[in-house]
Amino acid sequence: MAKIKELVSYVRSKNAGPFWLTMDLFFDSKDKYMTLANSPGFTRQTLSEVFDVKAENIKIFYLPDLKVVKVSFPRKVIQGSPYDTDMHGGQQYVSVLDLEL
């Protein structure tokens, strides 16, 4: 079983406004992209566990032409609130690197 970090060529996360986070996973081959896109290990359910947000609020976009998968979901803590530890959301992607596909 592969982990996400073994497949992605580049991955980033960032705020999409103060109330949303978005994460982009880039792949350098169609095969690797398809492995992730078809994996039961990468679903709204598994991401819900990683990010502790409700599965129904997670949006996954598949962009085969770009070999990119995008994930967007409401922030668990609003940007800049007392318990926010990542103002720009730039480190949130690290939590999926070890997810098993």
């Binding site: 705020n15 103060p18 978005t22 880039f26 976009f61 800049g80 007392p82 530890t85 720009h88 939590s95």
Partner: protein, 450 residues
């Protein structure tokens, strides 16, 4: 003849700077306008909460001097959006003051348009009561009082106030909060360029050189009636079909559609073609018109904070830092309660930097750090209370033992006193749309002949 408009976007945000050579190359390409954004919510609620900007005044002066003098020489207008990071009225005034200083210094005259987009709580309350304000997906719940708790509320301007100001002969337009794209899209739309291509081009260029391979080299757009071409004016920069199409993903929750005041563009049928010389041509984007709305942002005070940091290398603490934190916290909480400090008036978090403070996720099995910075962050109704709570923690951050039976340890405070007062905390309160009949009704435009 085909209608065409060349837009030079030198910065991702005014104050961020650009490589000199890239700037000169771009001006040689004879742009019809220089457009740049100057802000975002990305730096957090403090800026809108206080109405202050993020960049040093010197950095804003340097960038503004560069574009105003070049635009004056070329005889072209300038549009600037989201003045002062958050787009507050005071941000517009500060930027306008800098622009006037520059014009006087270089001895040229200009017609300056200032577009204010800050909103009064009363006005917003009446629109809320009239059912004209709606939450966006993921927005916090609000009541009429929410508007009163915001120290600043701004509405994000679309292209219309820029168009209005430029039509009235403004040479320089300085706008409060505006969408990143509106500041770029306004002029090409006035020139009759294809609306879908114009908005798509504007989204591509909103972060300046970020869509090219030279982040500090700005970006140059040529928009016409069928599409747009994007290029890097930097000798070190170029564009790829992949880079340009992927930019739509950036800081955008939806990778295909982009919603702006009154419109939605759809890029699912867009075709990206590399033209050689590092240029990319984009065609095929479609547009739909929607009822006109503006997005609202609001930020207001949310208590005060005090921070303490302790450095620890103690081998016993490092073996299991979370247990040390939990035990110490439980111990101190009893002290706080015994002092009669009401838990509803303060809160705190203890973050082990070097362990898992950033995301809070589990560390690899068997991981023993060499050292940690443990940060106590107290949030309370008053600065005094936040600091008092931090002071109750002080001796335990310094001495709390893993083995109470052994001699008392002392950990490493980096300075004295350890309590740092962070001042007022702010929070974002609005993520809402306001319905409008007239795109200009929430914008106030003031002209100044310099």
């Amino acid at each position: 003849m085909m209608k065409k408009c060349k837009v030079f976007v030198p910065f991702g945000a005014l104050g961020g700077g650009i490589r000199q050579e890239a700037f000169q190359n771009a001006m040689r390409l004879k742009p019809d306008i220089i457009s740049t954004d100057a802000g975002s919510t990305d730096s957090g609620p403090y800026y809108l909460g206080t109405g202050k900007g993020k960049y040093a005044r010197k950095a804003v002066q340097r960038d503004m001097e560069l574009i105003l003098t070049a635009a004056h020489e070329a005889g072209i207008p300038v549009t600037i959006g989201t003045a002062g990071t958050c787009g507050s009225d005071s941000g517009v005034d500060e930027f306008a003051e800098i622009a006037v200083e520059i014009a006087r210094k270089h001895g040229f005259s200009m017609k300056l348009a200032k577009i204010y987009t800050e909103q009064s709580p009363e006005e917003m309350k009446s629109r809320f009561a009239a059912g004209k304000i709606h939450p966006m997906e993921g927005a916090p719940k609000i009541s009429p009082e929410t508007f009163d708790t915001c120290s600043h509320i701004v509405a994000l301007a679309g292209m219309e106030p820029f168009k209005e100001a430029l039509s009235n002969g403004a040479d320089v337009v300085i706008c409060g909060r505006a969408t990143d794209t509106a500041v770029i899209a306004a002029f090409p739309l006035m020139k009759g360029c294809d609306p879908a291509a114009t908005w798509h081009a504007a989204k591509t260029a909103e972060c300046g050189g970020v869509c090219t391979t030279d982040v500090e080299g700005g970006v140059f757009l040529t928009i016409d009636e069928t599409g747009f071409t994007v290029e890097s004016p930097s000798p070190e920069g170029s564009c790829s079909a992949f880079g340009i199409s992927a930019h739509l993903l950036y800081e955008n929750a939806d990778p295909v559609c982009l919603t702006e005041p009154g419109i939605v563009i759809d890029t699912s049928k867009s075709v990206y073609t590399e033209l050689g010389d590092g240029k990319v041509r984009v065609e095929g984007t479609t547009i739909e018109y929607r009822p006109y709305t503006m997005k609202l942002e609001g930020s207001g005070p949310a208590g005060f904070q005090t921070v303490s940091i302790v450095g620890i290398q103690d081998r016993d603490v490092m073996k299991d830092p979370m247990t040390w934190i939990r035990t110490m916290q439980d111990y101190v909480q009893k002290k706080l309660d015994a002092f009669g400090l009401d838990r509803s008036r303060y809160s705190y978090s203890i973050r082990p930097y070097g362990y898992n403070a950033v995301t809070g996720t589990a560390v690899p099995k068997g991981f023993v750090p060499n050292e940690l910075a443990i940060m106590l962050l107290v949030t309370a109704e008053t600065q005094e209370l936040a600091t008092q709570v931090a002071k109750v923690f002080n001796p335990y951050l310094l001495h709390f033992p893993v083995h109470p039976e052994r001699p008392m340890p002392s950990f490493a405070f980096p300075f004295s006193p350890i309590e740092c007062e962070r001042g007022q905390l702010y929070s974002f309160r609005l993520y809402h749309l306001v319905e409008l009949d007239d795109p200009l009704e929430l914008c106030r435009i003031v002209y100044e002949e310099v």
